[in-house]
Every structure is written in structure tokens, then in C-alpha cells.
Amino acid sequence: MINVKELTKRYAHTTAVDHISFEVAKGQIVGFLGPNGAGKTTTMRMLTCFLPPSSGTATVAGFDVLEQPMEVKKRIGYLPETPPLYPEMETAEYLKFVGQLKGLSGAELQKRIDYVCERCSVADVRNKLLGKLSKGYRQRVGLAQAIIHNPDVLILDEPTAGLDPKQINETRDLIRSLAGSHTIILSTHILPEVEQTCEQVVIINKGKLVATDSVRNLQARARGAESILLEVGGRNGNLETSTVQQKLERVSGVSRVVCKHQVDSRAFFEVESQKGRKVRGDLARAVVESGWDLNELRPAAMSLEEVFLQLTGQDAPAEGTAAKGAQQQ
């Protein structure tokens, strides 16, 4: 549905987007991920024909953004970072205006207005001035505006920015429900959002493509070395953490053991395995055979956040030792 090849945008002194290529299949939700200033908005603006690319090509539904912008624009619904609302207009009036701009008219337009109002739950503010709406409503009217002409492709620039947690969840549900009938690209710098909403991720940093893959693959890829959380308890009320640590370190395949903290006779460890080694069974046996209790043993799932920081080459936060470990191999 969307095909981007070597897309580049140069300004006088900087290159905002540097030879990015990726593809999006019909009906997919793709998360466009990157720190602020990575070139997400610029890429989206090129896809919506707002900015022409310096070099490279992008096609939407088979139409080139430079050669046939009118055809592309007809098939795209776009929600910019700040919803493009006219404060002096009422919601229904505004949706009618946008619908007309996109080429709808008459009964069909009226039907679409009713539909998107319902879909984006803005029906109760139909006759309110847009300037008086709360942030959450403004965002949803922006979304309603983007889908009014039932476009093949939806491009959403940080659709959940500035919303409260409840609204964020509602917006995510809404976006998820739109997938299938629409192909969606959404940009964000909030990682859990991608994990929850998207099937595929495109990560960019400083204008360059860092990774593009499915969410699951990315997580698995970065988890090559397993990180395991252990809770060990002493049977008779006391526990020498250093002894336990030595014992754990001696298990074959273990590369590193860190004692996170200790409460009374219980100690918490984080164990990292060497790449490709399965050590969970051996760890459990070592603990039990030494006469301690194995209270808990679970793999520490690597969040996309760690993957992201690792891929974009930034330092992981203090507790993100898993990311550091993965970097070492």
C-alpha cells in the first residue's frame, strides 16, 4: 500500500531524512518510532505531499507523491501533530467543510459526518465551537476529520500526545479498530504505544532507518541473551548472598549474576545467560540442591523500550541492565 524507497529530505544545513526505505502492506498498522527530532514528521509530511522529497520515491496506493499528488491526497487521511482545527467553527460544520474539501457532497457527506461522529465519539459536541473543546475532544475531532472520506491510508502524527491515560486508551482502541479497512501509519515516541497498537515498527533515529520489523521479532532479536529474575530464600532464616551468587555463577552458560536486593532471608538476583544458552533448568537445580528455596524464577521480558534504546545507541536507564548486557555480545 505504501512503498518508500531511498526517501531523503535535505535542508540547507541538515538532512532531516536520510535514505529511508520501507513498505507497508494493506490493512497493517505501522508504528513510526523515534526520539523527538528523528525525522518522523518530515517523513509523514512527504507521504502526505505536504513536503516534496529531495530524492528518492514514495508511492501511496501505487501513486507517486511527486508525480500524482492529487491521487495520493484523495487516498490519504492525515492527522498532523496539532489537529488542524479552526477555533471559530463548530464540530459538524468543520467536518462538513473537510468532507467537501475531500470531494464529498450531499447525502453521502451527511452520512459520513454522522458515521465519523459516532465512530470517534464526538457526537455529543457536534454543535460546540472547536476552540472550546478539551484536548481529548480536539484530538478525536482531528481523527474524525482524517477518516471522513474513508481513505485507504491513515497517517497519524503522535495521535495520543497530550491526552490523559483514559483518553490514550480510548484513542488506541479506536485506532486499532480502524485497522483492516485502513492502512495506518502512526508516529510516536511512546514505546508501549507501539507494543500495544502496532503490528510492525519502523524505527528511525537522526533521519536514518535503524530497524524495521514486526514488534515480536524485534523483541526476540534483542533478547538473544536471556535475562532471568530469581528469588532465592534461605530455609533456616538466614542466607549468605555471596554464597548464592558464587553458586549461580558457577552454573554453565551464565555470564553474569547481579544481586538486586535482599529482604530478610530472601534475595533477588538477575542472571544473564550467554547467547543461545538455556540455563533456567540448571539454575533451578543449583538453587534447590544447595538447600535453598526457589521462590521465583522468570524471564525478564525485554521491553521495546530497551530494544529501542539499544538500537538507537542511547544509554539505557539505570535499571535497564538487560539492554547493556545485550550490547556486550
Binding site: 505536504f50 491526497k73 492525515y78 501533530e81 479552526y86 467553527m89
Partner: protein, 254 residues
């Protein structure tokens, strides 16, 4: 063309659903009302004087009231028109709504013409206020209506040119104050270029010819001069053409 009308309709709604149109109409009404009152006052004193002195001065409503008043309308327009055009593109660029327009399947030119047309219609509403005053002259006097109509055509053309220039300047900036002030300065300069006819040099003639005022005089006298009509239409085309180029460059630069 349908798209230009959609934009025009939306712009007019913006003018009339916000205080903009009403404030402009009120101020315009007050200012022009004063001009009318003063012009008519002078005219009445003059006629009374002429009767008292027993000599017959030539008395002509068209020449002595309507024509100077309409020339003043053009001057008031000089102050009011930048206020109409300053927001046209600057506001859309600042609030980001320009992204909606530009990513919709309509041409830049349709956006520009729609916006310019709406500004023209707003100006015509202002002119309607002046028409109401002149209706009183028709009730109590006997002026000739044809020169009046031609003068209005001239005023609309002149305003069209000024609005096109203002639209262009507004498309250059995000800041409404900058757009308004620059438009005002440019229009004033175009106005006073008429004064450069003190010299006999060729360039002075060219400068004077470029002035907005010189081309309105024939219309104000009730004469349609083709070259003046062409001058204004050219300015309108140039202004809108440059606006289109400016919108295009906005994309390449931004």
C-alpha cells in the same frame, strides 16, 4: 472552481462567526458616517452661502459630495484592507491548519482564489454601508447614478488589487502583525508614488504611473478607462500569481 467556492464559503463563515466582520463593519460605519456628515455639512453651508450672496455658484451633488467621499472611501480602505488580509495565510500557517488545506485534493490556486474572493466579498459588505448613506442623497436630492456605479466598480477593482497584494504578503509570514504592517507600508508606498510626478524624467513618470491613486481618478469621475481597468486586473493577477509561487516555495523551504 467548486473547491474555490468551498474555501470562500468557509472564509466568509469565519469572518461572520467571529467578531472580525462585525468589528470592521462597525468601525467602518462610524468612520464613513463621520466623513459623510462632514461632507454634507460643508455642502449645505456652501449652498446656503451661494443663496445668501445672490450669485449662482454651480451646485452639483456628484462633484461636490459623492466624488470626494468615494475618494475618501479608497483612503479608508487603505487602512482597513491590511486588517482583512493580514490573517488570510499567516493565521493558517501559525495554527497549522494550512496542513489540512495543502494535503487535501485541491489546487493551491483554488485555495488562494477562494480566500481572496472571500476578502473581496467582505469589502463589498463594507461598501454596502456607504451605499446606504448615498441612498439618502437620492431621496432628498437628484444626483446622477451612473458615475456613482462606475466609481464603485473602480473601488472594487482597486480593492481587489490591494487585497491581492495583501494576500501575497500574508503568505510570506506566520506573524499577523508583520503581515499587516508590511501590507500597510507597501500600499501606502504604492499610493504616494503618485507624488513622484514633480520630475520630468522618464523614471518619475513610470513611478507615478504605478501608483494606485492615479488609476482610480477616471473611475471616480465616472469614466471607464480601459487602461486603468487593465492596471488593476494586472495587479490582481500578479498578486495572486506571486501568492501561488510563495505557497509552492513554502513547501520546498519549510
Amino acid at each position: 472552481m467548486r473547491n474555490a467556492l468551498i474555501i470562500c464559503q468557509k472564509e466568509l463563515r469565519s469572518y461572520f462567526s467571529s467578531p472580525v466582520a462585525y468589528v470592521l463593519l462597525t468601525l467602518w460605519g462610524v468612520v464613513f458616517g463621520y466623513f459623510f456628515w462632514a461632507a454634507l455639512g460643508h455642502f449645505l453651508t456652501y449652498t446656503v452661502e451661494s443663496q445668501m450672496s445672490g450669485r449662482m455658484y454651480s451646485i452639483n451633488l456628484n462633484e461636490q459630495v459623492i466624488r470626494p467621499l468615494l475618494q475618501n472611501v479608497a483612503v479608508i480602505g487603505l487602512f482597513f484592507l491590511p486588517m482583512i488580509t493580514m490573517r488570510i495565510f499567516a493565521e493558517e500557517k501559525r495554527t497549522g491548519t494550512i496542513e489540512l488545506l495543502v494535503t487535501s485534493p485541491i489546487r493551491d490556486l483554488e485555495i488562494i482564489i477562494g480566500k481572496w474572493l472571500a476578502a473581496m466579498l467582505l469589502y463589498c459588505c463594507l461598501l454596502l454601508f456607504t451605499v446606504i448613506h448615498f441612498l439618502f442623497l437620492f431621496k432628498y436630492g437628484n444626483p446622477d447614478w451612473k458615475p456613482l456605479v462606475i466609481a464603485y466598480v473602480g473601488l472594487v477593482l482597486e480593492a481587489g488589487a490591494m487585497l491581492a497584494i495583501g494576500t501575497f504578503i500574508s503568505s510570506l509570514t506566520k506573524n499577523q502583525i508583520i503581515a499587516g504592517a508590511t501590507t500597510f507600508a507597501v500600499l501606502i508606498l504604492l499610493w504616494v508614488l503618485a507624488w513622484s510626478d514633480f520630475s520630468n524624467a522618464g523614471w518619475a513618470h513610470v513611478l507615478a504611473y504605478m501608483s494606485l491613486v492615479n488609476h482610480s481618478e477616471s473611475f471616480m469621475r465616472g469614466v471607464v478607462d480601459l487602461k486603468d481597468g487593465i492596471y488593476y486586473t494586472t495587479l490582481i493577477f500578479l498578486g495572486l500569481f506571486f501568492t501561488a509561487r510563495s505557497m509552492e516555495s513554502l513547501r520546498w523551504r519549510s
